[in-house]
């Protein structure tokens, strides 16, 4: 039996894994969906194809549904996020010249204190700092700007954001086009291996539970096909749960490397999935089990408060600080109501609440849920602040 054909765009990054596995392990087929994965050369291309109706759903940077809904990026299109594909997974790194100057000034590598490190970066740079990010509306950029705004006593070195596609980041670092970079794996490791760059800290040191990629769904399509959206969520939930089991990781790496969907070797895929990322040539890998999360701690649940945080940060970078309608729009793009409705009958343990105060948890904590088995991982911000969102 062939199911409904569903056109799904993605950018070939390791964190598109849940979509690839939902197809390759047959979970989508079980849900009556023939998942047509369409590789996209850029986020802009993916966005435009969705706006023009060629894609129904897509792997998206977590701020992209809001940017499209608000008409900030490409043609205005209502897009919502009923499912989080991955949490964490970005890396902040710097070129060799800059790191050498930081070391000369007495800086010591410590992946757990981003404020000290970013202060050292700003103090050591002798020119305006160019910060490479993959896309203007990306969690990478939001995290970096949040860090810069929240670090006390930051030297007043000018800095600017530069957009650079991740596969070109290493080259940009080597060419001195970019001083500091924020990327997902494998492109941080590639910058270490080919451009002598050094990874300073993972994005999770800035925010321990940052939604990185979401499933973006064209809202006009979903209104007419709630059953297909539900089937996709069931398939993705199974894929995420499968990826969440440590014993499946070696097989996952093999499937991802062998499938036609990513052009990445096993060696490039492995660090992201095991968290053993090597920060600089000759150094021991980080021990970072939560480097990227696909399942544990309700990773896939689209808390409204995550969307609201994204709204707040986007308002800030657009110079509309405190614009509550943007915060609200951000919250409304994340759809815990759809997640609940679609996964009600599944094995998913649904949390009791749909929003939470972000930044409160420094340790894994049990919370109220349907089956009472839900433990949320840490979600603290580097500055100890909390984010309380009220509609």
């Amino acid at each position: 039996m062939s199911g409904s054909v569903l056109n799904c765009g993605y950018v070939p990054l390791v964190d598109s894994a849940p979509l690839i596995l939902a197809k390759e392990l047959g979970f989508a087929r079980d849900a009556g969906i023939e998942l047509n994965l369409l590789k996209q050369p850029s986020w802009a291309a993916l966005r435009d194809l969705m706006a023009l109706g060629h894609l129904e759903v897509a792997h998206m940077l977590s701020p992209l549904p809001l940017a499209m809904t608000m008409g900030w990026s490409g043609a205005q299109t209502n897009v919502h996020a009923p499912f989080v594909l991955s949490v964490n997974g970005t890396i902040v790194g710097a070129g060799r010249d800059l790191v050498d100057r930081m070391v000369l000034a007495g800086w010591q590598a410590d992946a757990s204190s981003p404020a000290d490190t970013i202060r050292a970066v700003f103090a050591a740079s002798q020119r305006p700092i160019r910060v490479g990010v993959p896309f203007p509306y990306s969690m990478h950029r939001l995290l970096f700007e949040y860090l810069v705004r929240g670090t006390p006593d930051l030297p007043e070195t000018p800095w600017q954001i530069i957009t650079m596609p991740p596969p070109l980041m290493a080259q940009a670092v080597a060419a001195g086009e970019v001083d500091v970079f924020c990327v997902g794996e494998p492109w941080g490791s590639v910058a270490v291996q080919t451009a002598g760059a050094e990874l300073l800290f993972p994005g999770s040191a800035i925010w321990a539970h940052a939604p990185e990629k979401v499933l973006g769904v064209r809202t006009s399509w979903a209104l007419e096909h709630p059953d297909i959206e539900a089937g996709l969520l069931r398939a993705l939930y199974r894929a995420a749960a499968w990826l969440g089991k440590a014993q499946n990781i070696p097989l996952a790496i093999e499937i991802l490397a062998k499938s036609q969907h990513l052009d990445l070797s096993e060696q490039l895929i492995e660090p992201a999935l095991t968290g053993a990322v090597v920060p600089a040539i000759g150094r021991a890998p980080w021990d970072c089990p939560d480097f990227v999360k696909f399942h544990q701690g309700a990773t896939t649940f689209p808390w409204r408060s995550l969307g609201a945080w994204i709204g707040t940060q986007c308002a800030q970078l657009r110079g509309e600080e405190g614009n509550s309608s943007v915060n609200l729009a951000g919250a409304q793009c994340f759809r815990p109501d759809l997640y609940r409705a679609h996964l009600e009958e599944s094995e998913a343990d649904l949390p009791g609440a749909s929003a939470k105060i972000e930044g409160v948890l420094t340790n894994p904590t049990a919370v109220a849920s349907k089956r009472g088995e839900l433990i949320l991982g840490p979600d603290a911000f580097f500055d100890g602040e909390t984010f309380d969102f009220e509609l």
Binding site: P41, S42, W43, T163, P165
Partner: protein
């Protein structure tokens, strides 16, 4: 006739870029600059202040252009052509030709349309060329792989070339794979055993 729109073409392949520039020039658009590298692209575009930026839809550098699309002042802000949904037909033709375009500021729509028509026609030709080039490259590399795999079997099992190919084909059929995939697997395995 000399027309006065400032146009930037982002294209790393020199031949393709030249062909696009020629087409635009022959229609009277003379202010055309080619940028071939994503490095420093946003800064260069800022300096050149084009009215129109043309780029291949498949070019990953497109995301770099997104940056100029959020410039602070409306006169400097570039918008992807797709924002203008009033002309859906042209948008679709452009997309099918593999062209994406960014319009900066508010030049007269009529002039933009006229450039785009020329560019679309050219992109239709170049994207065809690109596809053919890629197929040819792929075919060549497949043939090399196949020849090496055959050679390996001929040497290891003392087969003739025909027999070696027959064995590859038989294995492929029994495993429900393509011959080229079996050949690749064989080469990978033999490289590992070296």
């Amino acid at each position: 006739m000399i027309r006065d729109l400032n146009i930037v073409v982002v294209e790393p392949d020199t031949d393709l870029a030249a062909s696009i520039v020629d087409a635009l020039r022959s229609e009277g658009w003379h202010q055309v600059t080619v940028l071939d590298s994503p490095m420093g692209l946003a800064g260069q575009i800022e300096k050149l202040q084009p009215h129109l930026v043309l780029i291949d839809l498949e070019n990953p550098t497109r995301d770099v252009l997104e940056e100029i699309s959020i410039a602070s002042s409306p006169e400097r802000r570039a918008v992807a052509m797709f924002v203008d949904q009033s002309n859906e037909e042209m948008t679709l033709t452009a997309m099918n030709a593999g062209l994406s375009a960014y319009v900066v500021g508010q030049p007269e729509p009529e002039r933009i349309r006229s450039v785009l028509k020329t560019a679309i026609a050219r992109f239709q030709v170049t994207s065809q060329m690109r596809r053919e080039l890629e197929l040819a490259k792929q075919a060549l590399s497949d043939r090399k792989t196949l020849d090496r795999a055959k050679g390996l079997l001929m040497q290891a099992k003392g087969l003739s070339e025909e027999e070696a190919y027959g064995l590859l084909r038989k294995t492929a059929m029994s495993q429900n794979q393509k011959v080229i995939d079996v050949a690749r697997a064989l080469l990978t395995a033999s490289d590992m055993l070296k």
